[in-house]
């Protein structure tokens, strides 16, 4: 199974290119296209109304839009339940519902995005291609960086936790039991809830990082022939490079006869940064401008030759 992420500045045509690639690939393979962009327009491109569930567009093409708010709510509800379980006595005072404020914690959206990718990759194993249409650059880089950042933190926290347990074990050996009527103190790694949770998180993120940096994952960067798009794409390429994420294709979208010089200039600059990455050029469809093209995903250029 191959995983493709379509990224780029807002408005460059990421969703359209992702949809076009999905349509072209679905002629020979089973494809699932997933929109992670909070401003969903996958349904608009294919002209269907999409729910959070997977819907079938053709025999080999399935579409899905992820509801980030719903995912964030679900995740926090789980945590709130654990907290409320620990502090059950607050129910007698009817104060337990105050934990619900956690739902406004910053950073939860990126986490929800990452979780949805992880779930999709793990559950949808009968597809040959999973295509993710990502949100604009800033959020995309943040959530792609999340596994590495998190692993670094988890590693350090595990080290400290192990040190704590080591000290507790020493105390236990010299003085006997650590626990009293009020508190139970564990000294073995298998009994410590915090360490167990940290190990579990660490395994999840390592697995996800392996998928993202692996052979079967590709990042496709879509850009337009203009200076703003070039600058942001260069920043995005730098970010991907820092995270060791595999950029495999550049798509220069919306090229016309009028902006062809600018298209060459932008491509030249992109090439300097990513020498071995192929560039596909997609011209701005005249029928699209007329508003007559009903199938936005059906473009004449083949953008899949470098993705197979």
């Amino acid at each position: 199974m191959k995983i493709l992420f379509f990224t780029g500045k807002g408005g460059v045509g990421k969703s359209t290119m992702a949809a076009a690639a999905a349509w072209q690939l679905s002629r020979k393979s089973r494809v699932l296209i997933v929109s992670l962009d909070p401003a969903h327009n996958l349904g608009d491109i294919f002209g269907v109304a999409l729910q959070d569930n997977k819907s079938r567009y053709a025999d080999t093409l399935f579409l899905k839009e992820i509801d980030l708010q719903k995912l964030s709510r679900e995740y926090l509800q789980r945590e709130i339940n654990v907290l409320s379980g620990t502090y059950k006595y607050l129910q007698t005072l009817n104060l337990d519902n105050y934990f619900s404020v956690l739902r406004y914690s910053p950073g939860i959206e990126e986490y929800a995005l990452l979780t949805s990718i992880e779930r999709t990759v793990n559950n949808e194993t009968d597809f040959d291609y999973i295509i993710f249409d990502t949100p604009p650059t800033g959020l995309t880089l943040r959530f792609l960086a999340l596994p590495r950042v998190t692993i670094t933190w988890i590693d350090r926290l595990i080290q400290i936790r192990q040190k704590i347990l080591e000290k507790r074990y020493t105390i236990h050996r010299i003085r006997g039991s650590l626990s009293n009527e009020e508190t139970v103190l564990n000294y073995s790694e298998e009994d410590d809830d915090i360490l167990k949770r940290l190990w579990k998180l660490n395994n999840n993120y390592q697995a996800l990082n392996r998928i993202l940096q692996g052979e079967n994952c590709s990042i496709i960067l879509v850009f337009n022939p203009d200076i703003l798009s070039l600058k942001e794409s260069l920043r995005l390429m730098e970010g991907l490079n820092d995270l060791y994420l595999p950029l495999r294709l550049l798509i220069n979208n919306k090229v016309t006869e009028e902006n062809i010089e600018m298209a060459d200039h932008v491509e030249g600059n992109m090439k300097k940064m990513a020498k071995d990455v192929p560039i596909d050029r997609v011209s701005l469809s005249k029928t699209l401008l007329d508003g007559k093209n009903g199938k936005l995903y059906d473009i004449p250029e083949d953008i899949t030759s470098n993705l197979l």
Partner: protein, 93 residues
Amino acid sequence: MNFSVFSFFRRFLSRFHESHREDAVALTIVEAEELENIFALLLLGSFVGLPSPPTFLAVELLPFMERELKILNRRAADAGDMLAEMCGTIGVD
């Protein structure tokens, strides 16, 4: 009468041994608590303006952090007189 010189010495030695063990372990207890304090501070550092890990990591571990939070709180209260506490622990009068 149950009292004998032998049992007196046995009790004396056992208390003597116990007090030495307490002395030996006192510093380790402080160290362990300090580490727990650091752990809580790193994880929940955003409360005092430290760079914090991704929020969800703190949220994930929060339900198990009651003891660490108590220590964090106590350490914050004792922070003004930490030198005296350290001196007390290592036996400097």
